[in-house]
Subunit: 354 residues, 2 copies
């Protein structure tokens, strides 16, 4: 990579996301084809990967690898494995949440029923192991086992985080505070969406020499920002038919906005919110849309959505502060600029629409 200035504009961010996303998706789909699954199962397994997302995870992994002096080939199998696990989590999460839409089309279990979707999610998760083992066998043993240990940790922490969210949804949401939220997001999102993609990229790009601890702190803040912005979008992007607008309210997801509302709103507003959110909200007798708009109006009255946006910006600042020690001593490449600038530009329309 050629050297470049320390910050990057939205064009570089968009171009890197697009190129790394495409590179990873092509390798992933080739891997699934070579895997020789029966046609019926292959169709289900390839469904979500064929609905591309923003490509943030593979870009974090590959750009970090290159920032540490590695080549794309050094981290591509790991980026493929991360994307496969991401899609596996999505399939199972959609069953657990009874989500209707995923990336603009019906969720897999809505199309094919729970048994087939569950089994496709299992197949996606195990499909991740193949490229990793092939890749690891060509590395020196210590690096190979360090790489496998990263994935072991990634999967286990994510599943634990998801189980924690399921527990919280069924409990009294009024007791949660912002630290609880960050703990939840660390578990269910940060490890697999940012910390491990960056750590694995650094591990492979540096041949095992990178110090991974400061990278974990940077990744934590990046992951938290991704989750907060995702949660805000779920309640603000009314016009985008590809999103399941307001589903977090119907599912009773403990988002920053909901926690803020329940902690700061007057008692009457809090009681009204609790009457509408989550599975218990079905007893209100109101239609889905009425429940969603009702809770959003309460959140707007309490400034909960503005608060979440400001909180997210603060955490983006913390990510930037952690970036410097995390990538200290690395040359000022385009990839380093991309990593430093990603959070600045994620809200830009060209990137949001991806």
């Amino acid at each position: 990579m050629t050297t470049a200035s320390a910050t990057a504009g939205p064009d570089l961010v968009e171009a890197t996301l697009a190129a790394d996303g495409r590179r990873t998706r092509e390798a992933l789909l080739n891997h699934l084809l070579e895997d020789g699954l029966r046609a019926e199962l292959h169709e289900l397994v390839a469904d979500y990967p064929l609905r591309p997302g923003k490509g943030i995870r593979p870009a974090l992994c590959l750009a970090t690898c290159r920032a540490y002096g590695g080549r794309n080939e050094d981290a591509l199998p790991a980026a493929v494995a991360i994307e496969l696990l991401h899609n596996a989590f999505l399939v199972h999460d959609d069953i657990c949440d009874d989500a209707r839409l995923r990336r603009g089309a019906e969720a897999l279990h809505v199309r094919h029923g729970i048994p087939r979707a569950l089994s496709a999610g299992d197949a996606l998760a195990w499909a991740a192991l193949g490229p990793l083992l092939d890749h690891a066998a060509a590395l020196r043993p210590q690096l190979a086992f360090d790489l496998l240990a990263e994935f072991d940790h990634l999967a286990r922490r994510t599943i634990e985080g998801h189980a924690l969210e399921l527990d919280w949804r069924e409990r009294d949401l009024t007791g949660l505070d912002f630290d609880d939220y960050l703990r939840l997001v660390l578990g269910k999102t940060c490890w697999y969406s940012a910390i491990h993609p960056c750590r694995v990229g650094a591990l492979l790009g540096s041949g095992g020499r990178a110090d991974l601890d400061p990278i974990a702190r940077f990744g934590f803040f990046v992951g938290a920002v991704l989750q907060i912005r995702d949660d805000v979008e779920n309640l603000t992007e009314r016009s985008d038919s590809g999103k399941d607008f307001g589903s977090d309210i119907i599912e009773g997801k403990p988002t920053l906005m909901l926690i803020h509302l329940l902690r700061t709103a007057p008692r009457a507003a809090r009681d009204e919110a609790l009457r509408l959110v989550g599975p218990a909200g079905e007893r209100s007798g109101l239609a889905r849309e009425e429940r969603i708009e009702g809770v959003i109006a309460l959140m707007e009255d309490s400034g909960s959505i503005d608060h979440a946006c400001a909180y997210g910006d603060g955490i983006a600042g913390a990510a930037l502060a952690e970036f410097t020690p995390a990538m200290a001593g690395l040359p000022e490449t385009r990839d380093k600029a991309f990593l430093r600038s990603l959070l600045l530009h994620l809200g830009d329309p060209a990137i949001r629409g991806r």
Copy 2:
């Protein structure tokens, strides 16, 4: 192990199953405790492992390891991983089948709902990777990657086999023949229940020197017998309240008895069977028990259950024939006698009741 005669009585078989089952269960439960899962998730993850089965998989793995000259420690982490995956498959299968009972108590999703059970199944599967990676890191690299590749293959073939069964249940069962059944059983049962337990035991017991191909053939026949007997028990063990008697008929599972009935019975009996089995049978308006007893009566008229028993005995004979080349050249130890005699005694009351 001391040398012993070539065949073993039911006592040795029972004692080996009991000892290896207990050894593996203790190590498994210790591993789950050390894993530090949150109490809520730990409770769900440990639930099925705390309901012991016959312990056939760990005994196959550990006894094969010892038969090849290895110690229990050489294969115990692998046996733990096999049992964890087995339990993970059971949890997800029970969701897919909407099974009510598992080993004498409510299925996990009946107790805790689908989202929590699904997530506990994921956690069980990933819990298998930890002991394997710790163990593999202490082996020479080639053996370590061979071991991990066995587990990769085990999981992927099992999930594919399960997906195949889901496909078949929704199609016309009348087109299936006995070869289809064996192909199905190879996929969904044989790899994880017998072939890989034996292969992994031989790999670790021999330090990578064993020829695994004849062991795979022996394991295939062992696994097929286990599945056939399990299917027969589901339709014959009326008195055992711990079993979900007749559930295979309600779920529309393509068993050997059902395939035989649909291939050999007169047209009227075949039509009557199709009216009662599987999800479509709900439209018959009959109660669950009436549907089960109705189909069993048709199977008895057609000799389908006797046919399945005889077919299973024939395959047990094939397993015995494959045993000789598979374990050729190994000293005549108690473990070799156990492996040779396991299928002979699985039907004995003391072992069936385990």
